[in-house]
Amino acid sequence: MTNVSKIISIYAADTSGVCSALYELGGMTVVHDASGCNSTYSTHDEPRWYDKNSMIYISALTETDAIMGNDQKLIDDICSAAKELAPAFIALCGSPMPAMTGTDMNFAAEEIALVTGIETFAINTNGTHSYLYGAGQAFAKIAGNFCTERKKTDKMSVNILGATPLDFSLNGSIESIKKWLCENGFSVKTCFAMGSDLSEISHAPEAQVNLVISSSGIPAAKYFYDRFGIPFVAGVPIGKSFSETLAQNLKTAVKTGKCLFPASERISSDNGFIVTGESVYASSLAAAVTKDLSMPVKVLSTVSDSDDGSLAKGDIICRSEEELEKEFAKASLVIADPLFSPICPKGRFSALPHEAFSGRCFSKSIPNLINADISGLLTQGG
């Protein structure tokens, strides 16, 4: 069964993806939930929680309100909090219980917007999907609601789409991506959404190209492409050779207006290395390993339900613990989060912690691989 695990962890949920995506934008995000979502998110999925304030709350749904369908309490409580806190926007998302009781989140959002006069939107979550699904929708909502005009175009400017600590931790990777872009002649217009505020984000349509660094950036990238014709390139500048390829692809996209997936242009191979994780990052790492270390690699996309274009032919989507164990057994080296190690053959494992899988367990040892030498991955094995 794909939904059963004997010993491995589970990826962060859609609600955490929403909160993480919106964390730095000055809005108020409310998860309609009884209790668990807030502590799970703030403990395991949000490394900024202690040091950086953000208005992330739960509705504290009770048994009685769930049974009685008392959605008015949700609306009243949000309006009351919004009056006190004056957020830039209000985002509302649901957990399993509201999904079961059929709470109309879109209606609630409309009511709240009417009462408060604050831009309010609902995000379609129910706690059963991955963080990528939640963050992807959240980024798309921000783009759709706040990036509606293109007054000018800045040459060689780029937006970074799909940045959350769930995929990039707080280890300097995002700063390194920005530096790498500048070194390659680009100016960074905005970053969705680490290090950019809402007013900066509203200038995103002025960019010439979008760099999508995780699958969560794809829905917003598609919005910018459909609305303004801004092309996107999916990939993370990992290692030296693939970073050069990615920079070249960005320039090509500016020139041609075409969307590109350079990490998928490689040959996936059985019986070599296996890289697991979020598909854009994992595929980029696979491309880097192929180019820099001349090793055959296969990507096991362990988060998404479908390929967003990042995977190479031969890569697979694999979320079942049993199937993963079989695939790992065939590999000469598995590069994966340490919480996959119990199902990996001994001596053929290289730990690459991923906050979206292991939370804060190994967050101090997540390496920054941006435009860097990646040969260390071969020596971490355990």
Partner: protein, 438 residues
Amino acid sequence: MLKAIDQNIPSVNIAEARFPSPFRSGLEYNAPARGTWNIVHTGMLIPEAHQIFVCARGCLRGVILTAAEMNAMDRMSWVSVSENDLYDGTMEQDVIDGVTEILNRMEKRPPCVLLFLSCVHLFAGCDFKMIIERLGEIFPDVHFTDCYMTPTMRKTVTPDCLMRKQLYEPLKAVKKDTKTAAVIGCDRPTDKASELVGLISTAGFKLTDITECKTYGEYLDIAKSSLNITYIPAAKSAGDELEKRFGTKHLYIPLSYGYEEITDCCKRLCGALEIDTPDFSENIAKAEKSLKNALGIIGDTPIAVDYTATPRPLGLCRLLSEHGFNVKRCYADVFTDEEQNDFEVLARKFPDLEIFPTVNVKMRFAADCVQKEKYLAIGQKVAYFCGTDNFVNIVAGGGLYGFEGISKIAELMTDAFYEPKDRRTVIQYKGLGCESCL
């Protein structure tokens, strides 16, 4: 950037506060103090038991990573509930199939499985009894216990309270040992120097406690107890349930900080142990001396107490206030009924004691407020909110009880006054007292 926010953090003087809920309910914030135990920590107290959670990904994430952080993933498995599962009428079979697959893939089966279902199962009318029976038929060598991760029902029965009750469900009726007593429902050992442990020992009783059990067999032996003692409010129903199931006498002697109440509880314990009640004047004198000594060192330093440190925060505030300490704040969103008397006394004698919430939306910004005075905190949440590294790091009473417990708290306050802690690191460890990979 966040807009400038009126940082007028809500609080109310106790004289004007409503009991038991001083603040209106609303959206809730979660402070980064992680020391209190959750249902995973508690379940791990049963040696050799395996936990299987069946719920949506969002709910699984927190419990799975709780186990991961305590280096116990080999005792934790899960079955995720998908969107379709919510509506297609296969909930029971999905649970049975998932658990069966997990157990069939194990090299060695555990003696006991704690099977957790969630709010959505109960709302869908899932037949948990049938699931447990069917699994028992498939795996006759495994005991399955129904457990609940149901935060939606927290206002009626808290998941914590329910977990402490189910923690003893695997016990079976055995011949009782007339000279064995058990402390039930605590998540940490009771201080061996406390009057509670001392009296049991004086009476010639052997004391058992789940926190001290190393094997599943030792755990099952808890059922031999002829006297079950609880002193944490959340544990009371566990004692009641064991009395109902096995006829074991249950004595609830609540943790408190009032000399009269402690004496009364000790008297009741002596009665149950069939021994004479000793004279506690020396114990009281020791507590008084410890408090006096602490006051001499701490002086008029402002003190704040929170509900995570002890289930009786108002009782502790009262004890300290009546002994001359400068208790200025108590952080709690709601009080238990047991606190009513202390609430009324404090409202009368110390009306300026400020009550602060912990989950109110504005508490998100409370830690940013520069405190005019440096606080001595009792509890992790209050250490965070008051921005102080001088804090007593205990949760759920810390295993302290009686007059000896008061002496120990006074000593811990003195230690905290002299020795600051790394607040940011210490309060973020999950489940105080558990192993941690952080």
